[in-house]
Amino acid sequence: MHTTLRIRRFNPEHDHPSSYYQEYDLEIDPSDSVLDGLIKIRETIDDSLTLRCSCRGAICGSCGMRINGHATLACKTKMISVASEGGTIQVEPMNNMPVIKDLVTDMAPFWSKIRQIQPWLQPEGRPPTAEYTASPESMSHLSGVMSCIMCGVCVSDCTVLDVDKTFVGPAALAKAYRFVADPRDSATSQRLNFLNQPNGMWDCTRCMECIQVCPKGVGPMDRIMALRAKGLAEKVPATCGSRHAEVFSDIIKHKGILDEPMLAIRTFGLKNIGRLLGMIPMVVQSVLKGKVPLSGPLHRPIPGIHHIQQLFKQVRIKR
């Protein structure tokens, strides 16, 4: 097939470095990957086109980049799946990390966040002479997270990191879950208390982007939600994050529809007047846009609220 690769380039050694787009026309087999296309450019047209790549089989995690706006592995993305005959494919470096050159990003911030969660097994006492016994289910459950190849794709497209660089991020949290859920690890409580801090597990907004883009089916957001559940079960100290989850559920249980002012007041607490005052601009903007939510006694339960309460009961029984 004929296609055009429109590649965002950046050369830090230019006199006035700035990124720009360069287009390359290619004749290529439709079943070839975008990585094949990039390698073809590098090997036959322009060897200054810079990218990382190695295994070609979605195992090494080197070739994370954004293709048509979403982060993915170039080796796993077939040409035909992202462009039709004569079409253009846009290739850009990953987001949420500095660009070194062309499609190569600086992964140092990524790894520093992985290190924050103490990513090594911390068993209790001395190991036995033979292996630790562990159920086959517990180990195969972990293999879902261990299949993470640390490619950075989830971090690239994380919408929280986009606005808050201090968030520990989906990859590190999924890695943390791998230890929290390991029956051989004894640091569960310390790990959960660490993740309970600001920038930790409560900062995910559940946009699901990381689940969408993960090339290995790790489902980072699902792991974050599992961490939260384990945190609540472990009775980590209440934070705005955990209160938000609990109050949210409590309001829905009683009213069937969200009472947003009450959610804010109960999450932050009346004593936290600073945070509440900080929300005034948002309230004003909502009012100006015609969104005046009813709150407190004025916020009536929806008709059929008993159906919702039934659901809550069933979920509780199932657990």
Binding site: T44, S48, S54
Partner: protein, 571 residues
Amino acid sequence: MNSSFSYEVLVIGAGLAGMRAALAAHNQGASVAIMTKVHPVRSHSNAAQGGINAALTDRGDHWEDHAFETVKGSDYLGDQDAVEILAQEAGQDIIALEHMGVIFNRSEEGHLGTRRFGGQKRARTFFVSDFTGQALLHVLYEQTLQAKIPVYEEWFATSLVKDDQGRCAGVVAFEIRTGTFALFRAKAVIMATGGLGRVYEPSTNALICTGDGMAVAYRAGAPLMDMEMVQYHPTTLKGKGLLITEAARGEGAYLLNSKGERFMERYAPNMLELASRDVVSRAEQIEINEGRGVKGCVLLDCRHLGRTFLQDRLGQIYAEAKTFANVDLAEEPLPIRPGMHYQMGGIKTDTEGRCWDVQGQWAGVPGLFAAGETACLSLHGGNRLGANSLLDTVVFGRRAGTCAAEYANTISSPTVPDSVIDADNNLVAGIVGRKGPGERAAALRLEMGITMNKHVSVFRDEEGMEAALRHITNLKTRWSDLTIQDKGQVFNTGLIAALELGFMLDCAEAIIVGALTRQESRGAHFRTDFLDRDDEHWLKHVLLYHKPDGPPHVDYLPVRITQWQPQIRVY
């Protein structure tokens, strides 16, 4: 402007062998650092799918059985003292890995579970689904983080440095991100740079497997051994040559020809699809050559295993077949063919990973160590058994790291001047600065790969190999004139490709010279002009010493036999 660094032990390469060696040296109290041209978790150990062998005595297995099958698999070229160590120490290393956090598959009782692998009568392969290498690699990386071992990521080593007594004194390397050269002084250097698969096209190996460490050590005076022993894996995908794990056959998949016959019945009536890899690859190639293939392939049939089983125990290749071959393994057979996979040969080492002989029977470089695919003990001889390579990396990585730390403790710091970096610095400046429309490194590499795959593959003969040698010699000349368009210092991957090609051409030449020298058929080395194994003349290793101008100097070493005399090899 240029900086220098100093450690007692410097490990080049951060795959399983490198990280295991670094941890062992660290545990001995040595100051140790790792240098790698990629991030550690990008290393090619990732790609090992099926598992890691060990005969655990508490499960009724015997290390002697594992050792014998390894020796038989090697076609009696493996050194039996090394094989005995491998088999005896396997159990402790598997358990150590489990204690570090590897999530090995379990039995219902919660103990480690096993699967069958080729060339072995017993199920002794421990595994994590079909991404065992990745599961091990990430855990060893976690351990290096915990140990706070410094890692020089994306640094490219260009040559070994020796002091005026000929001892290894460190390496010259440059930081890929800045293009800046530096001298790394070290009392001991451990080469753990993996294989050389890109010498061939296609290959199952990643694009980073370019034989750098072998060439760097070879140029510095360390001999390469048994380089003719290049393994073709029986199940690789057409096209780019991606690997389909032997675990598929270990779990019960069949090989079929175009007539639907399980043709292995004719070649290995007892072990069938689980004969050793050289035997299966030759059988497949004969089927294909004699017209019983399917478009240059034979078929791997997994349908009877069922979708749930495939997704659970062989999930990675289930996805791989779908993504890269558009085949649903539960519904249709997968076309596969033999493909270049592993280098049994490498930098000659003893059982402690030393690349010199303390007894002085062969010459080498004191202070240089090697482990993993880069090294050749020889453990795998003429043919490596599946799931023995991961084991090799952890057992002999550990031993090399321990010995290197002990060695470093006994010697004073070698002295070398900072100016030793000048030669490589000038070489690189010359390549980058070269003008004109010269040839591209990629084009030369492709020529090399195709030539090697044509003439130095499953079947070989003198005429073909002589032609290949002429071609490689020609490519070496053209290498000196190649040009790159990228004139920058920062992340110049065109430059890296040029340097890697230089290393690969040395490796290619060594493979061919070794293969021309060995006038017999043994293991993976099958010559149509010398059909039989010839123990009288060739039960010995071929050693190659680098000569700057002209072909390598050839020497020999006897095979060390402890308890298994060579027998006729039938599967």
